[in-house]
Amino acid sequence: MTDAADTEPRDAEKSLFEAPPMAEQERMVEAILFASADPVSVAEMAARMPHGCDPAEALVYLRRRYEGRGVRVVKVGDAWAIRTAPDLGFLMQKEIVETRKLSRAAIETLAIVAYHQPVTRAEIEEIRGVAVSRGTIDQLLELDWIRFGRRRMTPGRPVTFVVTQDFLDHFGLESARDLPGLKELRAAGLLDSRPLPGSGTPDDDSEDQSGQSELFED
């Protein structure tokens, strides 16, 4: 800063606003990702890095650099994180945090939210064929694996549920589009919302059918 000020004013300005070389930006992204236990968004990296940096580009290099290593650079939603390679999990017995065992109802509900999102409670109940207990939803909300989505524009304006970035992070997914078997389920029509013939209003359902199908369009 000070030595830049000593040179010609134009040069000083240039050096002040010129982004560091890409190799240096890669180091910065590396340091930021290593330091954080949670995924960091590109926007946040950019905010912390010097003016003019392009963390998205630096990430491309960094990701390549860590291919095949003991840790990996992974994408989680629109954020990035470093995680140990899954094949080395056996080394980390000490680090395993015992998590609360999820009930079958909770696991199924989670899967339904993930594959059908955004989904209302009534839809979850229709798919499972039983009432969803308050505790099940609460548990998933508490784990920060699901959250409230936008209200459905149908009578009663019911709330919907969607999965979170924490969910993606936990299951090592880049996005909800990468859910296992999603394409096949969709092709088989099993993610459609079909009302019982002769009941329900078809108009509501056309909206219901958005959801995971939306994910494929953008």
Partner: protein
């Protein structure tokens, strides 16, 4: 609990019989009628898409019937499903009645098959999801994360002008407050003249006449008019006396005055 001999006549095979028995013993373990139907459908050993819903409905009705015989109390939703399946069964067996509205038996059956297939698919998906590498079990996060210090830096902006204005505000308030309360909404020319005489000594450069208005006379329109008029008249008088110069660049433009340099 269940006496197998009770079922001998109904059972189609030993394995079916054993399964039916197990079902009744485990009735509390089912997550509702749909779950039970899905379990029953497995006895057909076919793809869920090709399942015989009629056969399934019969199996279910038999199950409910047996439960009754064993005096097992079934929850209301099991009985509701039984009633619906009985209706479905009749629809499927009887030739379609053209006078009757509503969905056909086939449509209803297809929907039930769809529901079962969808539930099965979600269960398989849930299992696949849980089989994925999981954070904290198969892969791990940074063990020694570094805190990002969130230093909130608050910059207070204040300029020298702010400072001077603040000080001027305090002092002028002291000096002119009495006028504001004691006088009516009239600022006389004598007052203005007196005030101007005290001030023009400092007006070395062009200064907006508006700035000579006394404090406290600017807000109320009536007072401002009076003060403006008297100050303007006073400035004319001072110009006449050769003490100041007056300037206005165009009609309605601000009027500026300055001390006339000898």
């Amino acid at each position: 609990m269940a006496d197998p001999s009770l079922f001998v006549e109904d059972a189609q095979s030993v394995s079916d019989r054993l399964q039916a028995e197990a079902l009744i013993v485990d009735v509390d373990g089912f997550e509702g009628p749909l779950d039970l139907l899905l379990t029953l459908s497995r006895t057909q050993k076919v793809d869920l898409r090709r399942i015989s819903v009629l056969q399934l409905a019969e199996q279910y009705l038999v199950f409910v019937d047996r439960a009754k015989k064993l005096r097992i109390e079934l929850a209301a939703d099991y009985l509701v499903m039984a009633a619906w399946l009985a209706f479905l069964k009749s629809r499927l067996l009887l030739p379609p009645d053209p006078t009757e509205d509503g969905p056909s038996g086939e449509e209803l059956a297809a929907h039930l098959a769809f529901q079962l297939e969808r539930l099965q698919a979600m269960r398989e998906s849930a299992a696949r999801l849980m089989a994925r590498d999981q954070k904290g079990r198969d892969f791990f996060v940074r063990g020694i994360p570094e805190d990002v210090r969130r230093s909130r830096k608050i910059q207070y902006s204040a300029t020298l002008l702010d400072l001077m204005q603040a000080y001027a505000r305090i002092r002028t308030r002291d000096e002119f407050r009495p006028y504001a309360f004691d006088r009516h909404h009239v600022f006389t020319m004598e007052q203005a003249l007196e005030r101007m005489r005290g001030l023009i000594g400092y007006a070395g450069d062009w200064t907006d006449l508006q700035s000579y208005l006394p404090d406290g006379w600017g807000a109320d329109p009536a007072r401002r008019r009076s003060a403006t008029a008297s100050t303007f008249a006073a400035s004319l008088e001072l110009a006449k006396q050769g003490q100041i110069e007056i300037r206005q660049s165009e009609t309605f433009a601000p009027i500026a005055i300055r001390r006339k340099t000898p």
